[in-house]
């Protein structure tokens, strides 16, 4: 298992952002759904080794990220796209991707080819020597994806990757996700259930820091059938039905 998490929690002062999440994920595309404030980003940041957990056990790529040497090894094999990725406006696309390729410890002799391949993957070849300050939001998002995949990651964590992409780009991005998911564990946090339906082999739904559903997109869709839950698409109805059920259980307990 590339991701093996048991009873993981994270607190920010009095706020419990992640409340006892257990998760195992191997190769494939794993969708993380949930409303705002559900704890998706905190969970992703912990897996990205940015944020230490308050409690619980986490193993990534069969290593314990709490120790320096395994954490460094994990980071060499990790791709991460944060929700708010900052950009160096004076860098070109190729320079930006190369910067992170070097920081990921890719051997210097392989950097140029890895940079070119990842830029081609996100279809930004014609913008490779363009300054980032001149690019649109969707293009910048693709630059972010390029840096995330430049090291051929075994664990790829993407926080709202399709935000700002136009429909055509989203379709090709989902194809890229499916391709990457054949070799690596790809975890995608998103609000867009159609991304999950089109690209994910597994899905987890988070609410109030907990995983309230874990299964396949088809199983999530099935939860919405005949439930009368709101939603335009079957998967959206499943999403709404699971959330409503989880919240009614919480309300009954309190």
């Amino acid at each position: 298992m590339n991701v093996d998490i048991t009873d993981l929690t994270r607190r920010f002062g009095r706020t419990q952002a992640v409340a006892g999440v257990s998760l195992q994920a191997g190769a494939g595309v794993f969708g993380l759904l949930g409303p705002n404030g559900a704890g998706k980003t905190s969970l992703l940041r912990m897996m990205a080794t940015v944020l230490p957990p308050t409690s619980g056990r986490m193993r990534l790529l069969d290593r314990d990220p709490r120790s320096y040497a395994p954490r460094r090894e994990i980071r060499r094999r990790l791709g991460y796209l944060p929700q708010n990725l900052g950009y160096y406006p004076g860098f070109t696309v190729a320079e930006f991707v190369e910067y992170f390729a070097l920081l990921k410890d890719i051997p210097p002799g392989q950097v140029a080819r890895a940079v070119a391949a990842s830029i081609e993957h996100v279809d930004l070849g014609d913008k490779a020597r363009t300054k980032l300050r001149t690019l649109s939001g969707g293009m910048l998002r693709r630059v972010g994806i390029a840096q995330a995949i430049v090291n051929g990651p075994e664990l790829l964590l993407l926080d709202e990757p399709t935000a700002g992409l136009d429909p055509e780009q989203r379709v090709s991005f989902r194809a890229l996700l499916r391709d990457l998911g054949q070799r690596a564990t790809v975890i995608v946090s998103t609000h867009l259930v159609e991304d999950v339906g089109a690209a994910c082999t597994e899905v987890a739904l988070m609410d109030a820091g907990k995983i309230v559903f874990h299964g396949t997109p088809d199983e999530l869709t099935a939860r919405g059938e005949g439930s009368g839950a709101a939603g335009d698409a079957p998967l959206e109805r499943g999403y709404s039905a699971v959330l409503a059920a989880a919240r009614s259980v919480t309300a009954a307990r309190s």
Binding site: R10, F12, T15, A17, V18, G37, A38, G39, T41, S42, R45, A48, T49, V50, L51, P52, R72, R75, R76, L78, Y80, P82, N84, L85, G86, Y87, Y88, P89, A94, E95, E98, Y99, F100, L102, L103, K104, D105, P108, V111, A112, R113, V115, A116, A117, I119, E120, G125, A128, R129, Q147, G209
Partner: protein, 245 residues
């Protein structure tokens, strides 16, 4: 490919349109693109890469905001004005302003306030603390060298030429601690300059002269102790991870 055949007789195809079946054109193109888009590291970056034994760390070093050419020129200009003022008035302006300049440079070396991709940088194999350390030492060293050159050029006594190095260490340390703790380069600059001004005014109040904060040998140990405490605070603050869900 159809555009590439434009201008050819109907039914004819360009020689480049037919490639041997075992050639992976995508792979070839990636190889070509890699050569075209390759960036040649400058002399400083190559040297830093050899010294640090890490091309990533070297790249992070040359991208330091307070080591960019514009910043270095601005620092040199301020010190040059200090040299002229020192020569004209006899007041050691270089020694008085060098610690504050260095503190500002340190605050702008690395951190979430100045690095737009700081969150991403924290997930890299080349650790963010190592980047912070290397950048801080480089900024400190460069400012010390520029300050010493300016001090020597201003022709003041040896105690003043070298005396400000220890207070500079303390001013830099408080700037680093404040910038790391507040996650803001501007707060670091303000803390560094304010700390240094308070020391100058305190020296003026107790011994009657501004240079007391530089020349008083009794202050060396407190400066170094204070700097060590600030560095400990910076290390602790860079260990804490904060954020929202």
């Amino acid at each position: 490919m159809s555009d590439m055949n434009a201008g050819l007789p109907p039914g004819a195809s360009a020689p480049w349109a037919t490639a041997p079946p075992d050639v992976d054109l995508g792979r070839v193109w990636t190889g070509v693109a890699a050569q075209v888009w390759r960036r040649d590291p400058g002399r400083v970056e190559r040297l830093a890469g050899r010294l640090l034994r890490s091309p990533g760390l070297a790249r992070a070093l040359v991208a330091t905001p307070s080591l960019l050419l514009g910043w270095i020129i601005a620092t040199a200009v301020v010190l040059a004005v200090g040299v002229v003022a020192t020569l004209g008035t006899g007041t050691p302006y270089v020694a008085l302003c060098a610690p504050a300049l260095a503190a500002a440079g340190i605050a702008y070396a690395y951190g979430p306030g100045i690095d737009p991709a700081f969150e991403l940088s924290r997930t890299m194999a080349v650790g963010d603390r190592m980047v912070l350390l290397v950048r801080t030492l480089a900024v400190f060293g460069l400012n010390a060298a520029l300050g010493l050159a300016a001090s020597a050029a201003s022709g003041v006594a040896a105690a003043l030429t070298f005396g400000w190095l220890v207070p500079m260490t303390a001013a830099c340390a408080i700037a680093l601690a404040a910038a790391t703790l507040a996650r803001s380069a501007n707060v670091g600059v303000a803390a560094g300059i304010a700390g240094w001004v308070i020391m100058l005014l305190a020296g003026r109040a107790t011994l009657g002269q501004y240079t007391a904060a530089i020349t008083d040998a009794a202050l060396v140990f407190p400066y170094l102790l204070f700097a060590a405490c600030c560095c400990a605070v910076a290390l602790f603050a860079s260990r804490i991870s904060r954020g929202t869900s």
